[in-house]
């Protein structure tokens, strides 16, 4: 059942990943000891509060971290390739063709002085040996796939001439252009309305089904997660605090943060005076509380939580479920 354990089907394997930013006010440990696997054809959703380290982890996997970042990992493999042993040049080659990322900031990730057609076409000409004309036709095709209306007319437009949601889709088009083994999509549908979003999710879904593409989807949208994810990982303050199959995790969260997150989803079919927010603010990565980092905001807090940080451990009765909470069994059963 758990394809990720099987080495032949493994697309991405990450162990012990950490990212620390150097700032004027000292080091900021944004990602701490994160393990992560994605099997071929699998869609793993990475959830977590704003600032919890999702993008930092994704960029580190891609080898595209900020200059002030220090990245460490015990294992970092793409299929059979050990990314840690590659040269910078080898890493760059892998990036365009075998792994691709959809960035969270759509506009800043596009080149403002090149038309969309030139940016997409360049990928095909460089990696697929296409002629200018073939590349253009392929680009128009791709824009149509991501739902840009009248793609043949818009292909020569520049990034600033597109709406926010269109830019986001253009980035998705660039990421899937060369059919990579792994796509990391960082909040790829935030600017999209539900109908276009459904179209993009269907596209990602069909790519992984038909081409066995592995997808790591970073999102805060629980609606999206519940529709497409096979497995879910939840990050809090730089660490993974809960992981498991989407079905089990979403219906029976075992970490109080996940549980509170599920409770804060607004609903379109009714109106509440105020939305449910988790009280307090997330800890700043630079000065984390002792014990469990979630304890100052936790409804289940006990003395132990204030002094000892719970490790990510398997749950008793559920296969392949892990949670980092001293009271995970209670949390899990409280929410049945």
């Amino acid at each position: 059942m758990h394809a990720s354990a099987d080495s032949t089907s493994r697309a991405l394997e990450v162990r012990g990943l950490s990212v620390t930013f150097a700032t004027r006010r000292g080091p900021v440990p944004a990602v701490v000891d994160v393990d992560l696997q994605v099997a071929r054809g699998e869609l793993v959703a990475l959830l977590g509060e704003s600032g919890s380290g999702k993008s930092a982890a994704a960029r580190a996997i891609m080898g595209l971290s900020d200059r002030n970042a220090t990245v460490g990992a015990d294992t970092l493999r793409l299929g059979d390739t050990d990314l840690l042993s590659l040269t910078e040049q080898g890493r760059r080659r892998t990036r365009g063709t075998r792994m691709a990322m959809v960035f969270q900031d759509a506009l800043s990730a596009l080149n403002p002085v090149l038309s969309i057609g030139d940016q997409l076409g360049e990928l095909y000409r460089e990696h697929r040996d296409m002629s200018r004309k073939q590349a253009r036709a392929a680009s128009v095709d791709l824009l149509a796939q991501v739902g840009i209306p009248a793609p043949d007319k818009r292909v020569s437009d520049y990034p600033h001439q597109f709406s926010g949601g269109m830019r986001q889709r253009i980035l998705i088009a660039m990421a899937i252009a060369l059919r990579p083994e792994l796509i990391i999509a960082d909040e790829p549908t935030t600017a999209l309305d539900v109908t276009v979003q459904a179209q993009i999710l269907e596209l990602l879904d069909s790519l992984r089904r038909d081409l066995d593409m592995a997808v790591l989807l970073i999102t805060h949208d629980l609606g999206v997660v519940s529709e497409v994810a096979d497995r879910v990982m939840v990050m809090y303050a730089g660490r993974v605090v809960e992981a498991g199959s989407a079905d089990d995790l979403l219906s029976r969260p075992a970490h109080p943060y996940t549980e509170a997150l599920l409770r804060s989803v607004p609903r379109a079919d009714r109106r509440d005076a105020t939305l449910h927010a988790i009280s307090g603010s997330p800890p700043s990565p630079a000065n984390q509380p002792a014990g469990c980092p979630f304890h100052p905001r936790c409804e289940y807090v006990i003395d132990l939580c204030r002094t000892s940080r719970p490790a990510l451990t398997p749950l008793e009765d559920a296969t392949a479920r892990t949670a980092a909470c001293h009271r995970s069994e209670e949390v899990r059963h409280a929410t049945v």
Partner: protein, 336 residues
């Protein structure tokens, strides 16, 4: 409720862009086509609609970043349609905008202290460095960011943190009209709830008029007193939020609502969601008559030739609809 003061009155706004390279292929994009909106003090108006339907263009015209081809904008009784330069800047203190693209709207060379503090200094709301710093700290806490982060640059923040910096910046001058373009799209549910509750609270307490653009219908339902549904540059339905959500009378509103995702694995809808028929039409070649007719389940001959105007339905003044068959659509009586 006594009728409160009209703070924003936009009439019949039009905006067309020229796209593509010059020459034969040059296309015109009709981004906003005859939109009128009124906003009263202390009121919130939500705008929803598909990606690329003209929401940001409308917002940019309202705050004076883009000038309409035709139509008029009156703010606090003053016609500002043609006002440019210094007067416009002064007026802008009263009308602030939170941008859709948080990264590109923040100057990368300025620290957060400078970014948020700048308008305070320009408009003489603070005197001295200490006062500026304490006001910026206060604004950062409002959006749940640690004040100690004020010395960082925009690129050193996560996506959701940047979005909140944009909100803090817009709130700095205590505007009378706040235009928010997808202000919470990059935030996780819990932080989203905090920001939405904050905006709602400010709007009610300080009498701010709030224009809230979002693709997430459930968020709009919680924020907006009235909701406007936009399709391809035009308004399809405008009215009291509960009325619009509970008995949508435009076929497009109905389609939007039916596609809203739910967090419930057993009700996954990716496969059987009512998607709209056909592709979104191109704004460079908008359909004749009702612009929605090419995808409408209820389409009749008349729809392709005659443009429906916004009108109230016989039994209620609470909303207006631009559909020839709104009464029947609302009752669900038309054969689909």
């Amino acid at each position: 409720m006594p009728p409160s003061e009209l703070v924003l009155d936009a009439r019949d706004l039009h905006k067309t862009f020229h796209t593509g390279r010059s020459g034969l292929r040059r296309a015109r994009v009709s981004a906003v086509d005859g939109v009128s909106l009124q906003l009263h003090a202390g009121e919130s108006l939500g705008i929803v609609g598909e990606s690329g339907c003209g929401k940001s263009t409308l917002a940019r015209m309202l705050v004076g970043l883009e000038s309409p081809d035709s139509g008029s904008i009156v703010i606090n009784g003053k016609d500002v349609t043609k006002v440019r330069g210094r007067d416009r800047r002064l007026m802008r203190a009263e009308v602030q905008m939170v941008f859709q693209d948080p990264y590109t709207s923040l100057d990368p060379r300025m620290t957060v202290l400078e970014l948020i503090g700048e308008p305070l200094v320009v408009h003489k709301r603070v005197t001295g460095a200490a006062e500026r710093r304490s006001r910026v700290a206060e604004l950062l806490s409002l959006v749940n960011l640690a004040p100690e982060l004020m010395h960082r640059y925009p690129h050193q923040f996560s996506g959701g943190q940047r979005q909140r910096i944009g909100i803090a910046r817009a709130l700095a001058l205590e505007p009378r009209v706040l235009v928010c373009d997808e202000p919470v799209s990059a935030l996780d549910m819990s932080v989203q709830a905090q920001v939405v509750n904050l905006l709602r609270d400010l709007q009610q307490r300080m009498g701010i008029a709030l224009l809230f653009i979002a693709h997430d219908l459930s968020v709009v339902r919680h924020v907006a007193d009235r909701t406007a549904v936009m399709y391809l540059g035009r308004l399809g339905e405008v009215g009291d939020t509960d009325v619009v959500y509970d008995s949508p009378a435009h076929p497009y509103t109905q389609a939007l609502l039916s596609a809203s995702p739910v967090v419930d694995r057993s009700r996954r809808r990716l496969a059987n969601r009512i998607t709209l028929a056909g592709d979104p039409p191109s704004p460079s070649d908008p359909p004749s008559g009702c612009r929605f007719h090419t995808r409408c389940r209820f389409k009749q001959d008349r729809c392709a030739s005659e443009t429906p105007v916004l009108r109230s339905l016989s039994d209620s003044k609470e909303r207006t609809v631009a559909c020839h068959f709104a009464e029947e659509v609302r009752e669900g009586a038309l054969a689909g």
